[in-house]
């Protein structure tokens, strides 16, 4: 096999910490290596031509590139070796910048030795490397948009305008989101319904958009270009087409429920039109109450309906369709406060509730009245940052509150010219165009006092007033007000986690969906057909939400623009001779990619569904399954090679999942952190690929400890890989312990890509943890001694 090794100096970033001459002389000793080439920067455009030329000239069959982390240029190098006539699978990168040069700056000799080792592992990997098959698949020119709020509607419209078919899926009975129910919207104090009602009308009248209200996504299968979607359509109990909105049913309905469209401020009948501008404009019965209606009511609504539209016995239906891409725009929830007597007083409102006092069709018909006694307030307090920028609740800034408060102050001043207004705030965070002057305008108003302090305590006085204790510049003071409005934080919606698992998305620590790169790819996910936008990704203003929605739509459309998508088939393969049909893989795979061939009685992989995580490969108890890109034999060989690394300190193997832990190690190096060079990193596609045999094997080969890095529980890129690993470890620990091996030798860590600092800290913790391990016998020594002992035994016998 003719292997070419290309080493990048990274303009000195690598070469200043690593002895290049040493590496090159070392590499020349390898039998299969026919070319060792060094470049100042392999990522410069002329280097690609050079690379292609050299591959052709030296008839190189496999390529090893020793440079930076594969996350940067692996794809580009693959494309280039493809130009040179090689299969893209025949390339492997040795990450000598992030794993050798940067984290071991102080020790040139160790860094060089480690670089040699990593290159040797990469050379082994390309030897085992098999072809990446490229599969062409048809692209379904349609997109499912989940969530029909501002982001979802704008994404849907943008896609529909480009001629794509759009399925707009909304959980509620109406589309439009919350903002259309509010009075005015910053930064131009525009009438909110006037701004957004036309968008709803455009959605309803666009022939390319199919709206599914009261619908939930049940499952998502397949991959980019052809996702198989299953929807559950919950019944409305009123036939939209027959309903003529006469309102007779509402009149006769005997019982009421809390009105969720008024944020619980009032009640409405169980059968109702959500609100006047609602689309679809039809009556609806809430699914929560329908059971009670059926059992305890005489079905007056059914009987009175002239068009026979009402039918309380409707059942949920399922709907299957195929789409090429998915955009998730499920929006946010608002933090439910418990501070400032919110739960105890009717006169403490959240912002959304206060909005409903301001709008003309609200509970007070547009008058600002106290809900306790319907009297006009003389003093109103706005408290900002309730739940936001608080490490105990939500550490982030919710972004909308400062501006929205200013909008409300303007409106309040218009309606009640004499009211005294207090605003309590931590900082005013209005960046960019129109922000600062917008807020300053309200600061300059008469009788509006901006106080830079958040009240520490609130008391209910005189039955319905509130006294706020605040530590402002001159010491403590009590401010009594009639009405308090809390600018509550914006937080991930309750269904985020459920939907995340169905659609297959990652989430951040705050609970929002994780974008593939917050800087460079803000609306993409790790799946090229799935996009996220709006406040389900993080707090943002309406303007930003719309920008992001259109960006997601454009990104999605650009992927679906091609007639065919060329996809890499990175699948788990089955050796039919070894598969005994135990169905363990079928029970392990979360993507439904394992099917059983009933005729041959073996399991098979559905290439269109397999995502290549390798969980089934670990699970397969008969050794029949293997992963094309990360085969079993490679891992054993890699552990063999890495175990040769000589060090006086405890030697650690770090099995890092490609989704989180591997980039976390990169991140540590990028932010300049140093960690001991006796930590050797081996990449796995997912923690689910970590076979417990590798752990024992590593210990037997001379590693003192094994560390496994994985995504946070609940954030696995392959849904359950990390959970399965934890379960496997729970079974492995007792097995190791009975063999006398302390579980202190093993450490499983949840690390996310940005947690480089945590990674280094955990490595150091682990090294400390490994110290007592020296009380145990050396495993490798014992296994090596078995041969020695055999000789001494026989020597004794001969005597």
């Amino acid at each position: 096999m003719r292997i070419g090794v290309f080493i990048c100096k990274c303009r000195g970033e690598i070469s200043s910490h690593i002895d290049y001459g040493d590496i090159i002389t070392h590499l020349k000793k390898f039998e299969d290596v026919v070319l060792v080439d060094e470049q100042i920067a392999l990522c410069s455009s002329n280097s690609y031509d050079e690379l292609i030329k050299k591959i052709k000239n030296h008839e190189i069959e496999r390529v090893v590139i020793a440079a930076c982390s594969p996350k940067y240029y692996e794809d580009i190098f693959r494309k280039n070796i493809e130009v040179a006539g090689l299969n893209p699978g025949f390339l492997e990168m040795a990450n000598i910048r992030e794993q050798c040069a940067w984290p071991h700056k102080a020790n040139r000799e160790e860094a060089t030795r480690k670089a040699k080792l990593l290159i040797k592992v990469a050379i082994e990997k390309v030897k085992y490397g098999s072809k990446i098959n490229l599969e062409k698949s048809k692209v379904k020119k349609s997109v499912m948009v989940i969530g029909a709020g501002i982001a979802g509607m704008h994404a849907a419209l943008s896609l529909a305008k480009q001629g794509l078919e759009v399925h707009l899926v909304e959980k509620k009975a109406v589309i439009g989101g919350d903002q259309v129910r509010f009075a005015k919207v910053f930064p131009r104090d525009e009438c909110s319904p006037c701004a957004f009602a036309p968008i709803i009308a455009q959605i309803v009248n666009n022939p390319n958009i199919t709206v599914h209200t009261l619908s939930e996504v049940k499952s998502v299968g397949g991959r980019v270009g052809e996702y198989q979607i299953k929807l559950i359509n919950h019944p409305r109990y009123v036939d939209e087409k027959k309903c003529i909105n006469c309102g007779d049913c509402t009149t006769v309905c005997p019982s009421e429920i809390e009105n969720q469209y008024e944020f619980g401020l009032g009640n409405h009948k169980r059968i109702h039109i959500p609100y006047e501008e609602a689309h679809p404009h039809s009556h609806v019965v809430s699914e929560k109450t329908v059971d009670d209606c059926r059992r305890n009511c005489h079905r007056y609504c059914e009987k009175i309906c002239v068009t026979k539209a009402v039918n309380l016995d409707m059942q949920p239906t399922e709907l299957d369709f195929i789409v090429g891409g998915i955009i998730v725009a499920t929006g946010h929830n608002l933090y439910k406060p418990h501070e400032f007597n919110y739960n105890n007083s009717d006169n403490v409102l959240t912002m959304a509730e206060y909005e409903r006092l301001l709008v003309a069709d609200g509970v007070t018909k547009g008058k600002i009245l106290r809900l306790s006694d319907k009297s006009e307030p003389n003093a109103i307090a706005f408290i900002l940052c309730v739940g936001s920028r608080d490490p105990k609740i939500h550490p982030y800034c919710s972004k909308y509150c400062c501006m929205a408060t200013a909008t409300m102050i303007t409106q309040t001043r218009e309606k009640l010219p004499n009211v005294k207004i207090y605003v309590f705030y931590k900082d005013i965070q209005t960046v960019g165009k129109m922000g600062d002057e917008y807020v300053r305008r309200t600061q300059e108003m008469k009788d509006v006092e901006w106080i830079r302090a958040i009240p520490e305590d609130s008391k209910i006085i005189n039955g319905d007033r509130l006294s706020l204790k605040v530590n402002a510049s001159g010491g403590y003071m009590d401010i009594d007000v009639d009405l308090v409005v809390l600018a509550n934080a914006l937080e991930p919606s309750a269904d985020t986690d459920k939907l995340r698992q169905i659609v297959g998305l990652d989430k951040t620590e705050e609970g929002f969906y994780r974008e593939s790169d917050i800087l460079l790819n803000p609306v993409s996910t790790f799946d090229p057909g799935k996009y996220i936008c709006g406040t389900c990704v993080g707090p943002k203003t309406i303007g930003e939400t719309i920008t992001e929605a259109r960006s997601a739509a454009a990104s999605c459309a650009s992927v679906l623009g091609a007639d065919e998508i060329i996809q890499e088939v990175l699948v788990s393969k089955v050796d039919e001779n070894k598969c005994g049909n135990c169905k363990v893989c079928l029970r392990t795979c979360v993507f439904g990619a394992v099917k059983i061939d009933e005729e041959k009685e073996v399991s098979v992989t559905d290439n269109t569904l397999c995502r290549g995580c390798g969980n089934c490969v670990s699970a397969c108890p008969s050794g029949a399954r293997d992963l094309i890109m990360f085969p079993n034999d490679f891992y054993k060989k890699a552990i063999d090679i890495m175990a040769e690394y000589e060090t006086d300190e405890p030697k650690i193997l770090f099995l890092a999942c490609n989704g989180c832990a591997y980039p976390a190690a990169d991140n540590a190096a990028q932010i300049g952190k140093q960690y001991p060079s006796n930590l050797l990193i081996l990449r796995t596609p997912c923690a689910g690929r970590v076979d417990t045999q590798y752990i024992e094997y590593a210990l037997a080969k001379g590693f003192d400890g094994v560390m496994i890095g994985m995504c946070h529980i609940g954030s696995c890129h392959y849904v359950v890989g990390n959970e399965d690993l934890m379960k496997r470890m729970d079974l492995l620990y007792p097995l190791l312990e009975i063999k006398g091996i302390s579980r202190k030798r093993i450490r499983v860590e949840e690390i996310s890509p940005s947690e480089g600092e945590k990674f280094v800290q955990k490595v150091n913790d682990f090294l400390d943890q490994l110290k007592p391990v020296y009380q145990e016998e050396n495993i490798k020594q014992i296994i090596d001694e078995m041969k020695l002992e055999e000789n001494t035994d026989s020597a004794e016998v001969e005597k």
Partner: protein
């Protein structure tokens, strides 16, 4: 009847392959299995000559004759075994490891979970049925062989040509291997796992619908077992998935779960880890750890051939620590079951 038995009688008589049978640390059951071939033994006997077969005839124990085929039973437990297996290897052309003890270390191999001195004490001193007030343990190694520190399978000492696994092996498999060898062919073992041969059915499994398959872990006496349903689905730990096929599911047919005597499948290195990997997503882990003797079950026949084949001793281990280790009390602090509390 082998196709080649028509070969001229005289010729075969003249060059009858010499077969040697020898037993080390084991129960001699595998050799008895050779007799268990019953009438089928007659298909083989005319074509071979036994030069040493303790189950068939008396013989000089110490002497090891030259042979063409050696059927070796048992694991290597003492220095005599060690010396003799090397001699057998030198004096035979084809060495067959017969039975799980010789192939993987077998049940005697479970001794590797303990220190040798503890084992000797247990056998000669502490045993309830033993009266040994002076605590005499074997010391004259000129009379009895000296125990090795740990038990090994044959493959870890000498080159093994073929393996016939099983505890005991299947008689027909022994016959087939012998006949193949006599005919100059390469005997092969099945490459699938036991589930392939097991008659038990699975409940309907929906692809992609992951579930714990049962919430109870039972031993066979505790539960009323459906004789046609997979043991694992009934909460009975069965080693079938991680075990090589070839026995035609003799235990599972008899309503007993597989104990794994055929050893790990061809590409799987060891049974213990393979079982941990496979069972983790399917069974309730906490119960499994509590109710089952995991090491005794996962490594019943294959500990000496597993990746870490013996106990790693702790320097200066206290009595409590030892007790704790042996009873494999589970420290749950790192368990995913408890993780939710943190």
């Amino acid at each position: 009847m082998s196709p080649n038995t028509k070969k001229s009688e005289k010729e075969s008589k003249a060059q009858k392959p010499r077969v040697l049978m020898i037993a080390f640390g084991g129960c001699n059951g595998c050799h008895v299995t050779v007799l268990d071939m019953h009438e089928e033994l007659l298909d083989v006997l005319p074509h071979i000559e036994f030069v040493r077969a303790s189950v068939i005839a008396d013989m000089n124990r110490k002497e090891i004759p030259e042979s063409d085929i050696a059927l070796v039973e048992g694991s290597i437990c003492n220095d005599e075994n060690l010396k003799m297996i090397k001699e057998v290897r030198e004096k035979t052309k084809t060495l067959i490891a017969l039975g799980s003890c010789s192939a993987f270390g077998g049940v005697p191999g479970l001794r590797n979970l303990f220190d040798l001195n503890d084992c000797i004490d247990e056998g000669y001193v502490n045993n309830l049925s033993t009266v040994n007030p002076d605590k005499v343990t074997p010391n004259d190694y000129s009379v009895i062989p000296k125990q090795l520190n740990y038990v090994r399978n044959i493959g870890s000492i000498v080159k093994v040509d073929y393996v016939i696994p099983g505890c005991p092996p299947v008689p027909s498999m022994i016959k087939n291997v012998l006949i193949e060898l006599l005919n100059g062919k390469e005997p092969t073992l099945p490459t699938k796992n036991l589930c392939h041969e097991c008659h038990r059915k699975h409940k309907k499994i929906i692809s992609g619908d992951r579930k714990i398959i049962t919430w109870n872990i039972d031993t066979i006496i505790e539960s009323d077992l459906d004789p046609d349903l997979c043991f694992l689905e009934q909460g009975v730990l069965c080693m079938g998935p991680a075990t090589r096929s070839g026995c035609s599911g003799r235990c599972t047919h008899a309503n007993m779960p597989c104990r794994g005597c055929f050893g790990p499948n061809i590409d799987a290195i060891e049974q213990g880890c393979e079982m941990s990997n496979a069972m983790a997503p399917m069974l309730p882990i906490g119960l499994l750890v509590q109710k089952e003797d995991l090491a005794g079950c996962f490594y019943r026949y294959s500990l000496p051939s597993s990746i870490i084949p013996k106990i790693i001793k702790k320097h200066n281990e206290t009595v409590e620590e030892k007790k704790r280790r042996i009873s494999s009390t589970v420290d749950d602090s790192n368990s995913s079951l408890k993780r939710g509390e943190n």
